[in-house]
């Protein structure tokens, strides 16, 4: 078991954003979390990656609890995320964005940096090469030197993906990677996600585009009003009566 | 250049040289002035500047020094020691002044002093009261203002008339305030009076009620107050509000009782003030005619009357330097320094003559100024006894 979420609950003020959610992510799979806007998907992501403290519940990764860890510590354990709203280092170039993503791959400490040790240069060259490879992987080779905030929306999302990949995740949490993309771009991203899984990285995905979700997921978890209402392979989910009701709405059901 | 032109060219060059030498002789004698013209103590600095300008104009009206006009190069030290040092550097190096007057506060004077030594330019100190100014072994320093000890000694002969049994201190938390508390405390102890509380206040503080409350609790009879006139006003007002009921004696000579009467009103009634100039009774000054003329000129220029107790120092400082230049016969720093040891003149305050102070071989000059006490009676400044 890679990631296990047990009875996860998050409250904002008096409002329950998550009301006791449990699900698991098996290694080497693509698992999708779906649900209408406001159903608690992003909240779950934030809780798993240490950006907010759950009211109750347990989150374990590789058998060890992630509770109370800072996001950077969680990243160091191989759990890396992207954000729902496009999130890049805006005034830096694409290549520099990815270089920052490679932070954990670097080893240079203060002393080494200040003394200007020779092996630093080698490390920098290695990291730069790695960054280049990642930029190529997401198909932004031609944008390498451009400032991230100047890129079109879809390409910014690709930068984000490259940054996350640079952190060498073993579990990658993607928050709506296809949002704001054209059909063609979405297809590219879907293919990319498959490639990523092919490299042995487990993927947990939040996505709205059903075609995309159903096309690439091994398992789908459906959240509705802060609870899991269904979990299973895509085909089963599409046929699940409660899911249909949640998606089409009560009115639709009655009509 | 062909040979044919050589002679006339030489002639022209010689003529030019001669002309420039003539102009050189007519060039004014520059004196640097460093004062706090902006910042918290700007008012005092500006009064000193006004006094200095009067001295300059008088001297120039009499034909200048050694036939040359006097020119003041005035710099603002922004009430900041760093700026005082910068200003000294600029005056010496860029403007090439052979002597300086400055720099009001002791911390500013102390900060400028290394520059004097570095370049060898004398400075007449007109206001600073810290003992260390003349004790540091800086042979370029000549002070006409009294250090706090001298001021305390000046008061000593009036002590019985004042009737001090038990005194408290309230002083601004600067070198000046701290120094005054020490000097007057020592003098009082020597004379057998008890010393109670010594309270300090920040330069920018406006509310001294807490200090006054503490002082009220000591049960003394006299409060020695050392700070700028603005704060004295506040302390007087707040003491009255708290019904402190003490004899209040201000030290330092910056108190300007006229301004206090204007600003503190009844709260100033009965207070004593140590001053170095009594513009209310110029005839009572050592040189009554000079003092009267200075007061008149000050008024004619529309300067505020209350500035006179500060402004006279500007006059005396410039007059001293001008006299030294006259004695030296040239405006060259070293010569002026030597001449400063020889000058003896009458200033608005009284006779000015320097005696040696500080470590042997590197003495600074210290003149012994006249010290007076006045009292506010019936809303007017009066001689107390």
């Amino acid at each position: 078991m890679t990631l296990a979420v047990r009875d996860l609950a998050v409250q904002f003020g008096g409002v329950a954003a998550l009301g006791g959610v449990s699900f698991e992510v098996r290694p080497g799979t693509i698992t999708s979390v779906i649900g209408p806007n406001g159903s608690g998907k992003t909240t779950a992501f934030n809780a798993i990656t240490g950006y907010l403290r759950p009211t109750r519940g347990a989150i374990t990764y590789d058998g060890a609890s992630l509770a109370g860890l800072r996001p950077s510590a969680i990243a160091r354990r191989g759990v890396v995320r992207t954000f729902q709203k496009t999130s890049v280092f805006p005034t830096l170039s694409v290549a520099d964005n990815v270089m920052i993503g490679l932070h954990l791959s670097g080893t240079a400490g203060v002393v080494a940096v200040l003394l200007g040790r020779r092996r630093l240069g080698e490390e920098e060259r290695r990291l730069a090469a790695e960054a280049d490879a990642l930029v190529e992987l997401v198909g932004l080779g031609h944008r390498r030197g451009e400032v991230a905030s100047g890129l079109p929306y879809g390409e910014q999302r690709l930068v984000e993906l490259a940054v996350a990949l640079a952190a060498r995740p073993r579990l990658l949490l993607l928050d709506e990677p296809g949002a704001g993309m054209t059909g063609a771009e979405k297809a590219t991203v879907s293919a990319l996600i498959r490639t990523i899984r092919g490299r042995g990285i487990t993927v947990l995905l939040v996505e709205h585009d059903m075609r995309m979700v159903m096309g690439i997921s091994d398992t789908v978890v459906v959240l509705h009003h802060g609870r899991v209402i269904a979990e299973g392979p895509p085909a089963a989910i599409q046929a699940h009566p409660e899911v249909i009701r949640a998606y089409l709405g009560a009115t639709g059901e009655r009509a | 250049m062909t040979k044919r032109w050589a002679v006339p060219a030489t002639l022209v060059a010689a003529a030019l040289l001669a002309a420039s030498a003539l102009v050189e002789a007519q060039a004014p004698v520059k004196i640097g002035v460093i004062q706090p013209l902006s910042g918290p103590v700007a008012a005092s600095g500006n009064y000193v500047r006004m006094g200095a300008e009067i001295a300059r104009d008088w001297i120039n009206a009499r034909g200048g020094v050694n036939g040359r006009k006097l020119e003041l190069v005035i710099e603002d030290n922004k009430s900041d020691p760093k700026e005082a040092a910068s200003a000294a550097e600029k005056l010496i190096v860029r403007d090439k002044v052979p002597a300086i007057m400055g720099a009001w506060g002791s911390s500013m004077t102390l900060a400028a002093m290394p520059k004097l030594e570095e370049y060898g330019v004398p400075m007449v100190v007109e206001t600073s009261s810290a003992a260390s100014v003349t004790r540091r072994g800086n042979p370029w320093i000549f002070r006409i203002s009294p250090p706090s000890e001298m001021e305390a000694l000046g008061l000593e002969r009036h002590l019985d008339k004042l009737g001090v049994k038990r005194a408290d201190f309230l002083a601004v938390n600067t070198d000046w305030g701290r120094g005054a508390v020490g000097a007057f405390g020592d003098m009082l102890k020597k004379r057998g009076a008890a010393v109670g509380a010594a309270e300090f206040m920040d330069q920018a503080a406006t509310d001294m009620n807490a200090q006054i409350t503490k002082i009220k609790a000591t049960g003394g009879d006299t409060l020695f107050l050392t700070t700028a006139v603005e704060q004295i006003t506040l302390v007087l007002k707040q003491s009255q509000e708290q019904r402190l009921g003490r004899k209040i004696v201000t030290t330092g000579g910056s108190s300007s009782p006229t301004q206090l009467i204007k600003q503190a009103g009844a709260a100033a009634e009965g207070s004593y003030h140590i001053v170095f100039f009594m513009p209310w009774f110029p005839e009572a000054m050592p040189d009554g005619r000079l003092a009267k003329a200075f007061v008149d000129e000050w008024g004619k220029r529309g300067h505020p009357f209350e500035g006179l107790t500060e402004g006279f120092r500007g006059h005396d400082g410039i007059a001293t330097i001008a006299e030294a230049v006259r004695v030296a016969g040239k405006d060259e720093p070293k010569a002026i320094r030597e001449a400063l040891w020889k000058v003896s003149l009458m200033g608005v305050n009284g006779p000015i003559k320097f005696e040696k102070d500080g470590p042997a071989g590197k003495e600074s000059g210290q003149s012994k100024p006249s010290i007076f006490v006045v009292q506010v009676k019936n809303g007017k400044v009066a001689l107390p006894w």
Binding site: F12, G13, N46, Y51, L52, R53 | L37, S38, G39, P40, V41, A42, A43, G45, N46, N173, E199, F200, M201, D202, A204, A205, T206, D207, M208, N209, A210, Q211, T213, K214, V229, E230, T233, L234, K237, Q240, E241, Q242, R243, K262, Q263, A264, G265, A266, A267, P304, G307
Partner: protein, 282 residues
């Protein structure tokens, strides 16, 4: 008792600053200068024009508000969207320029502002207080109350609060955000000027008087929480009293340290201010 007099004016300063700071995210270093301006305006009214004390305070408010509004309109509006450091630098420039302009106009000599009250203190049981201070306290209280009414009972105040809470939605309601910014800045500056006009006669007016006042205002804002009016009011009173006690019981030299220590302690242990509601996380 003195703590209350000071506290009342601190509160005025704090309310003005908290509005500007909270709404526009401008670290207003020139806030103290509007305080100074108020004191000089009061001086001009009382000594020059021979007006009454109330007229002087009103005059100060008008001066402060006009110049504040102008500052915002001319200097800050074109820089909207620039980083907080840039606007801060602008306000530093305004601070330096205003202070030295005041020096130029009024000279460095501190001005005592005449006032029509007797200097003999009123004795009420164990408490002795000068009538002026009593009047200042009452006027400060009145101005604080008036600010509350303006903010809570008028259409303009409602729009200001709405903008403060959610500028974009306020714009959707037809509120002209830029105008609200100008008005807020003018209002805040007016209050600072009022504080100056009130404390000026108690103390003195001189060009650098605003520096300390600005610092106090910042302490008050932190104490009360950003953009929190009741917080600023209570914070002002509390700071006034704490200073009085601190100076009385600890050491007068460390009087002004009270404000600093309060800021540090409050920020380290309760960053949203003493009176702020717990903010929603995330």
């Amino acid at each position: 008792m003195n703590g209350l007099v000071l506290g009342g004016t601190y509160a005025l300063l704090g309310i003005g600053l908290t509005l500007i700071f909270g709404l526009m995210n401008v670290v207003n270093f020139a806030h103290g200068e509007f305080y100074t301006l108020g004191a000089y305006a009061a001086f001009a009214t009382l000594a020059g024009l021979g007006g009454g004390f109330v007229a002087a305070v009103l005059g100060a408010i008008v001066c402060g508000a006009l110049l504040g509004g102008l500052t915002e309109r001319v200097l800050l509006r074109p820089l909207r969207g620039e980083s907080i450091d840039t606007t801060m630098l602008v306000m530093i420039g305004v601070w330096i320029a205003m202070q030295n302009a005041e020096l130029l106009v009024w000279g460095g000599v501190a001005k005592s502002i005449p006032h029509p009250f007797p200097t003999e203190p009123l004795v009420l049981g164990p408490v002795a207080i000068a009538p002026l201070r009593l009047f200042v306290m009452a006027l400060a209280a009145g101005l604080i109350a008036a600010s509350y009414l303006l903010i809570h009972r008028t259409k303009l105040g409602r729009a200001m609060r709405a903008t403060f809470q959610d500028a974009e939605t306020a714009a959707l309601m037809g509120v002209k955000i830029a105008r609200i910014h100008t008005v807020t800045f003018a209002f805040g500056s007016g209050l600072a000027a009022a504080a100056g006009a009130l404390l000026g006669p108690v103390f003195l007016a001189y060009p650098s008087m605003g520096d300390l006042a600005a610092l106090k205002a910042f302490s008050v804002v932190i104490l009360g929480g950003l953009g929190n009016l009741p917080g600023a009011t209570l914070g002002g009173l509390l700071l006034g009293i704490a200073e009085e006690l601190g100076a009385g019981y600890v050491s007068s030299g460390y009087r002004d340290a009270v404000g600093f220590v309060i800021i540090i302690v409050v920020l380290l242990f309760r960053p949203s201010g003493l009176f702020a509601r717990q903010e929603r996380i995330g």
